[in-house]
Symmetry: D2
Subunit: 228 residues, 4 copies
Amino acid sequence: MGTSVVIGGTAGLGRFIAARHAGRGDTVIIAGRDAEKARTAARELGANVTGIAVDLARPQTIADSLKTVESVDRLVITAAFQKPSTLKDFDVEEAVVAVTTKLVGYTETIRVLRDRFTPYASVVIFGGLAKERPYPGSTMITTFNSAITGLIKTLAVELAPHRVNALHPALVADSPRWAGTDLGHMAARTPIGRLITMDEVADATDFLLDNGAMNAHDLYVDGGVLAQ
Amino acid sequence: MGTSVVIGGTAGLGRFIAARHAGRGDTVIIAGRDAEKARTAARELGANVTGIAVDLARPQTIADSLKTVESVDRLVITAAFQKPSTLKDFDVEEAVVAVTTKLVGYTETIRVLRDRFTPYASVVIFGGLAKERPYPGSTMITTFNSAITGLIKTLAVELAPHRVNALHPALVADSPRWAGTDLGHMAARTPIGRLITMDEVADATDFLLDNGAMNAHDLYVDGGVLAQ
Amino acid sequence: MGTSVVIGGTAGLGRFIAARHAGRGDTVIIAGRDAEKARTAARELGANVTGIAVDLARPQTIADSLKTVESVDRLVITAAFQKPSTLKDFDVEEAVVAVTTKLVGYTETIRVLRDRFTPYASVVIFGGLAKERPYPGSTMITTFNSAITGLIKTLAVELAPHRVNALHPALVADSPRWAGTDLGHMAARTPIGRLITMDEVADATDFLLDNGAMNAHDLYVDGGVLAQ
Amino acid sequence: MGTSVVIGGTAGLGRFIAARHAGRGDTVIIAGRDAEKARTAARELGANVTGIAVDLARPQTIADSLKTVESVDRLVITAAFQKPSTLKDFDVEEAVVAVTTKLVGYTETIRVLRDRFTPYASVVIFGGLAKERPYPGSTMITTFNSAITGLIKTLAVELAPHRVNALHPALVADSPRWAGTDLGHMAARTPIGRLITMDEVADATDFLLDNGAMNAHDLYVDGGVLAQ
């Protein structure tokens, strides 16, 4: 029960987590950049879900965008500017958007909502495995996901006794992003012999949200990829 | 359901986890160094619990000690030689027992049981926060807990597709070890404003055992102590 | 010999490193935000030192600012927007400047200069210990210094065979920043019994620049603070 | 000048480092398991080199073996029981020797010599990259090298203000161990485009020994292998 706020909840992993919380009866607020898309997604997810527009790339607007949120039991932020970047074709404007979204946008969202946290509220923010293993196109993604480790440390101290954790998923087999892509070679290289699933990521998110001892932790949900 | 094997399950966190699994109907095998103590603890925990004697400090004996274990769905190893050691008063014999127990004993236990793993079986081994933050008396404890990080990496690769994770708890408020000790100063220094509990550690253990995407991960269950 | 480029070389650690390289006969280019200040510092450092203006907070201008740099044997970047930030008094505009300077500005500088790298050229970028241990006011500093770990990984791959390393200094005893401040309590808490020095940081920088096997490494120069 | 003690100094990297120190005029004591071999190596390295027998696998004998060492400015320990081990063919006796050598033997050596440390003496102990990336046969090597991270933390605190660092080398191109082996595929996978050299490892060792701010640090000397 209680209220889950999922920034980035209109698609992908965020939407999956929102659906799970809605399905068990939580009040859920999902946010995406586009208001219409957020409302549509909310309608599809159920009567207890509301969709609002929040643009983390314009952090000056976040406080106003979140003014209808009244209380927060669980805050999950998955949003990211994921457009590939390389050193060779580095686009300065896009890079500023990327780090602003992830680092300033996330921080500002948490700052705005913290006064509405219920006593046991906690936060989970998403990074990703590019943090540890860069790939072609991950120049900024690797960089901002690496920053997540520092962000949860400082926030865990500043938000205490509230808890803030990070979740770094590997490639997710059933993510809409990979629909139609053959990921067999990636599955073969994963120790568990397959890619991870949205359900496993959502379960791990709930673990971090609910276990009162988990704090300032970087949870790698990767099937063992980093052991290699 | 299925079978949980808890090495170190006759006392402390291991016993707490065993009790939880027994309470939900699992078949549980607990092991401690002393056969009589193991049988007594098993009796106290319920009809579905069996106690056996296993001495990780004598790894040559482990295969024989475990011969009655028929199948394993969950393997949890918490046992450790916890006697304090310092550089100043370093006792070579005890240090050999300490690293043998934790590193050779754990590995041999897993080697012996792996052929009895059911298809989705997984392993959780315990370290502790001394790994990251030494304290007076932790010379060998810090050292062998640090080795756990390497051990789960190599085992995750060698046991694939079976999963192996580590759990590093902070000081546990309601551990029998601290009965009668005032830990208020430690609680005050923890971001969550209190020490962690046995229940939280057991919940985290189950998360690692059950979430099929968690592998080769060092889970710090510490209330945020390491953020500081 | 050869050419050292030090971005942030007009003051503090950057200037100290530039002076050291100038003193041994390198051609040195120091850059700071203010052209006049850069030229003055260059004059003070010697005839083989040139001062130019580069503003990492405006990454669109970096390519033009660096057009007079002809070749690079050693690139050191120490510049940072160090103004304290806290979650409580979070200033979105300043936070964008902070992450833009450190993450986009550093990356763009390296992109611009890479074609002028000599065959054995390497890069050292500065983070700091706030990465691991937040302090009041370090919200963004902890965050962007944490990102440095990811940045050197992706750049080491993208710049290969050129090398990129990071240096994370603790509080530096003889930094001009602390002139007149009593840091005795910090010294007492450092295992070596004192704070680190500019000379030690400069020596460590040269080690990373010169040892051809060092790559993608986070070097903590901290007297052992992180062991505690 | 001063005295360098190199445990494991009769062959490989240890011998290379000893030769370097001897060549610049240090008094050098090299130790290996075999007394005759140690004396022969010492003779080959020069008049300022002495060879003694020390067996880290029998830590009870270390104090006696080191009784002729009068003072220590630099202590380097490279010795290891490197015989491959796998979970499949796990040999309990050899595993006990492996962890005893590396963890108890190293600690006991340092305990014995600490009272003979000169005021600025420091220690470098060797691990290796198997710590982070297991390979077939590295079961115990990955485990004990991972323990090195904890060992230097606790020792840095216990030996303060003396310094203790670790060096983790990748595969070394010109190590006698690989004479006659084609390592071209490993070189191709290293970002610097080649394997690291003994000279680079020795230079890194000296950096850790000499820079007074380096303490409790895990130095990875790997050409960037871990970035991938």
